[in-house]
Assembly symmetry: C2
Homo-oligomer: 449 residues x 2
C-alpha cells in the first residue's frame, strides 16, 4: 500500500454495514482518502506499529451524515417567515426576497454559513437545490465538504438564469467543469411539479437517463398541491411525474407528505427514495408524512433538513430524532424506526438515494473515509447503555467533536479547520449584518428599486 | 434599598410580561435574590454608577425555564426502554428495575445527573414526581436549583414506603422540614388514575384543598388508559377525577393526549393546567396531544420533558420547539404557537401551574431573579432577525451560557458552579458505572436476589 495508515481509535464504531453492529475497542485504519480496514485494537497495534494514532476515548465513530435535502444558502433567511403556511411563505416572503437579493454573493455567503453549521453538526454530504450552484460548490469546497449539487430547473427566470433551458445549460456546464472533483456530484433538480411544466419535466427525464443522474424534486408537500394538480392536470403530481418518466429508482421525492396507500405502493414499486424533512413539514403546517408506510414497504428513506428558512436549523441529527419519534407517535407503533435504523437513514440511505452508495454511507474498506466522532462523555450522557440509542435520542449535535471527509480531518474540537474555512467564516459572519439590512429593507418596502 | 445592585447587560431582554416584548440595550437590576427593575442601559448607568456590571454582548436574557413534568432520577435509566409502548415499558422495564434498584442513593445520584443537565439547559425550576423526594431536594439544593417536589401517592409499596398513607405521611413531613427553603415547593402527586384508587384520590383532593397544594397527575396518556377505565369505572379517567374533586385550577394534567372536545371544554372550564410532554408521548407511541385544542380554549399549557427513560433527554428548549412544530403540523395551522407564545409556555405558564406565578416565570420587579442568558453569537445563528424566533427555532440548549436562580449565579460559561455541584457531579458520574452494572444485571436476570 502506498499511502501511510492513520489509526482512529474511538471507544465504539458503528459501521452501519453490517446493520445493527457496534464494534467496541476497534481501530479504523485510513489510507489517504479511503477506509483501509476495521480491526480490533490489539490487532491494529500489531499490524500497524508505526501508524499515526488518533485516540478518541469515550467517542462513538459513525459514517458522516448525509443531508438529503436542503437549500443551504437560505441560512441568510433564517427566521424571516415563521408562523406561515407554505403558499404565503413562498409567495409573500421567500420569492419576493429572492427576487430582490439573489446573486452569486448571496448564495455563496449563505452556503458558507450553512456548510459551517452542517459540518460541525456531523453532516459530511448535502444534497442542495438552489440558484447559482457554483457558489454552493465553492463554499463546500472551501470547507472540505462533499456536496450533491442541484442542476436547478424552474419555469420562471431569476438573476441566475432566463428559464429552464438556461438553468439546464448552466448546470450542465458546471458539472463538466467540476467533473474532476471527487467531492462534488450532481442531481437534476426540477423544483416541483407546480413550478415546472410538462415539456421541461420530459427534458429532465431524458437527461437523467442519458447522464445517469438522480432527480431531486419536491413532491406532494401539501394538500393544496394535490388539489391544484387535479384542477390543472386531472391527476396528482406523482401520477403526472410517473407519466412523464420521472418516477424511478433515481428519483428523490422530497417531502411526500400527502400520499395514499396506492401512491406509497407505486413509490415502493418504482424504487423511489424519499427525502423526509419532518421539521419543515410541521413548521409550514404541511402535515405529517406517512413514515410508517414508507418503512413497512421497504422504501429507501433518507432525512433532510430542508432550508433554514422553514426549519430553522440544519441539524440533521435532531431532524432524524424527530423523524423517529413522529413515526412512532403518529402510527402508534413504538417499536418502529429503532436508533440503528435511524442511523442507517442518516447515512447509507441518503448515500444510496444520491447514487453514492458504493462510495460513502458506511464504514467499509474501499469507501471514502467520511466519518464523524461524537464525544459521549458529557454528564447528561452517563451511563451509556447503548451508544446508538444515546446518539440518536440523548446526544444532540453538540456531541459532534471530529469530522473527516474523504480522509481529511475537517472539524477538530468542534471547529472547522481547513485554512479556507478559518479565513472565510469570520468574513461571512461580518457580512451577515449587511444581508440583514437588505432583507429588512426589502420586507419593509424600503429597498432601492 | 439594603442589597447592593448588580446590573446584567444583555443585548436583548425578553421579560415575558408584558407579552411579545423585546427590550434592546436594557439592563436588569438585581438586588439580592430579587429583580429590582429593568431600564434602558443609559438610564441604568446614571442611576447605578457604582453597581457591579455583567456585560453580555450578543446574549438574550429570558426568565428561567420551568420543566413542568419530570422524574429526574430516571436519568440513570436513560435508554433502557427504547422502542416500547407505555404498558410494556412500565411493566417489563421500568417497574422491575425500580423494584430492584430503588433507594435513596439511586434517587439522589439520578437527580444530580438530571439537575446538572437541566440547569445547563436553562431550566431553573422542575416539577418532579418520584420516590424519595428528599433525595431530589438534596440534589436540587446542592446545585442551587428550584424544585417543586411531588408528594407521591401510588397504591403499591416500594422501598420508599408501604403504600399511599405512608407516602403521604413522608411527603408531608418533608414539606414541614423544608418549609423554610424558598427554592423548594410541593405538589401532591398521585401517580395516575390507573395506579391510585378512589379512596386515596379523595384523600389527595382533601389535602390539596386544606394545604393549597397543586395536584400533579398523569392523565389520559394512552388509548388503553381510557378503555381500561371504561371497563373498570364506566367513565374516562378525567370524568372520574372530576367526580372525586381532583379537576380544578390547581390541577396539573400531565400528557392529556387523548381528550375529546367535551373533555377539552371541561379542562378549560375547570381552569386545569396541562403539562405537555410531546417527546415522551411520541416515543412511547402514545399519540399526538391536541395542543391546538388547548391553545384555542386558552388552557394554561406548560411544557415538561418527562423522565429521561422515555424521552431520552431533559432538554426543555428542544421539547418546546417540538411542541410548537407538532401543534402546527398536526393541526395544519402554521400560525399557532408563535415563538413568543412558546417562551410564555416555557416560563410563566409553568410557573402559574405550580402556583408560583407571582414569584417566578417573568422578569418583573419583585420577582425572584431566575434568569437564563443565551449566547446567540454562534455562526449558525447569524443574522438575528428576531432573537425569540432564533432562540426557539434555531438555537438549541447549547446556547445556554449563564443561569441565575434567585439571584445566585449558578451556571457560568455553561458549567454548574456552586461549590457543592463542583464536588458532587464528578463523584456521581464516577458512580454511574456501578448503576450501569446493576441495571445490566437486573435486565439480564443476573441480579442477586
Amino acid at each position: 500500500m502506498s499511502e501511510p495508515i492513520t489509526l482512529i481509535q474511538p471507544e465504539w464504531i458503528v459501521p452501519v454495514e453490517p446493520a445493527n453492529t457496534v464494534l467496541r475497542d476497534h481501530d479504523i485504519a485510513i489510507a489517504g482518502e479511503m477506509i483501509h480496514e476495521l480491526l480490533p485494537r490489539a490487532a491494529a497495534a500489531e499490524r500497524y506499529p508505526e501508524a499515526r494514532r488518533i485516540p478518541l476515548p469515550g467517542h462513538l465513530l459513525t459514517p458522516g451524515l448525509v443531508n438529503l435535502h436542503t437549500h443551504a444558502s437560505m441560512a441568510l433567511l433564517r427566521g424571516v417567515g415563521d408562523d406561515m403556511a407554505l403558499k404565503p411563505w413562498l409567495e409573500k416572503r421567500i420569492w419576493p426576497l429572492e427576487a430582490r437579493l439573489m446573486s452569486r454573493e448571496f448564495v455563496f455567503d449563505g452556503a458558507v454559513l450553512a456548510c459551517d453549521e452542517m459540518l460541525r453538526g456531523g453532516i459530511t454530504c448535502f444534497n442542495d437545490m438552489y440558484f447559482f450552484p457554483e457558489a454552493v460548490a465553492d463554499a463546500a469546497r472551501a470547507l472540505g465538504m462533499r456536496a450533491s449539487l442541484g442542476i436547478i430547473v424552474i419555469d420562471f427566470p431569476s438573476a441566475y438564469g432566463a428559464g429552464a433551458a438556461d438553468y439546464l445549460r448552466k448546470g450542465l456546464e458546471l458539472r463538466d467543469r467540476l467533473g474532476d472533483d471527487r467531492l462534488m456530484s450532481f442531481c437534476l433538480a426540477p423544483h416541483a411539479p407546480y413550478s415546472v411544466g410538462d415539456d421541461n419535466l420530459r427534458q429532465v427525464a431524458t437527461l437523467a437517463n442519458e447522464l445517469g443522474l438522480p432527480i431531486h424534486i419536491h413532491v406532494h408537500e401539501t394538500d393544496q398541491e394535490l388539489s391544484d394538480s387535479i384542477a390543472r392536470y386531472g391527476v396528482h403530481p406523482l401520477e403526472r411525474l410517473d407519466q412523464l418518466g420521472l418516477v424511478g429508482p433515481d428519483t428523490i421525492a422530497v417531502h411526500a407528505v400527502h400520499t395514499s396507500p396506492a401512491e406509497l405502493d407505486l413509490m415502493a414499486q418504482r424504487g423511489v427514495s424519499v427525502a423526509h424533512c419532518p421539521h419543515s413539514n410541521l413548521k409550514l403546517g404541511s402535515g405529517i408524512a406517512p413514515a410508517a408506510g414508507w418503512l413497512e414497504r421497504g422504501i429507501n428513506v433518507g432525512i433532510g433538513t430542508d432550508g433554514s428558512a422553514s426549519n430553522n436549523r440544519l441539524d440533521l441529527l435532531g431532524e432524524a430524532r424527530t423523524a423517529a419519534l413522529l413515526a412512532k407517535g403518529s402510527s402508534g407503533q413504538a417499536d418502529i424506526w429503532s436508533a440503528h435504523q435511524v442511523l442507517h437513514s442518516l447515512t447509507l440511505a441518503g448515500a444510496r438515494a444520491l447514487g453514492l452508495g458504493e462510495r460513502i454511507g458506511s464504514l467499509k474498506p474501499a469507501k471514502y473515509a467520511d466519518m464523524v466522532a461524537f464525544d459521549l462523555r458529557a454528564t447528561e450522557l452517563q451511563p451509556v447503555y447503548d451508544p446508538v440509542s444515546q446518539l440518536i435520542h440523548a446526544a444532540g449535535r453538540a456531541a459532534v467533536a471530529e469530522v473527516w471527509v474523504a480522509g481529511r480531518h475537517v472539524v477538530h474540537m468542534r471547529q472547522a479547520r481547513t485554512p479556507a474555512a478559518q479565513t472565510l467564516i469570520p468574513e461571512v459572519v461580518a457580512r451577515t449584518r449587511m444581508w440583514q439590512n437588505r432583507v429588512g429593507d426589502t420586507l419593509s418596502g424600503n429597498a432601492a428599486p
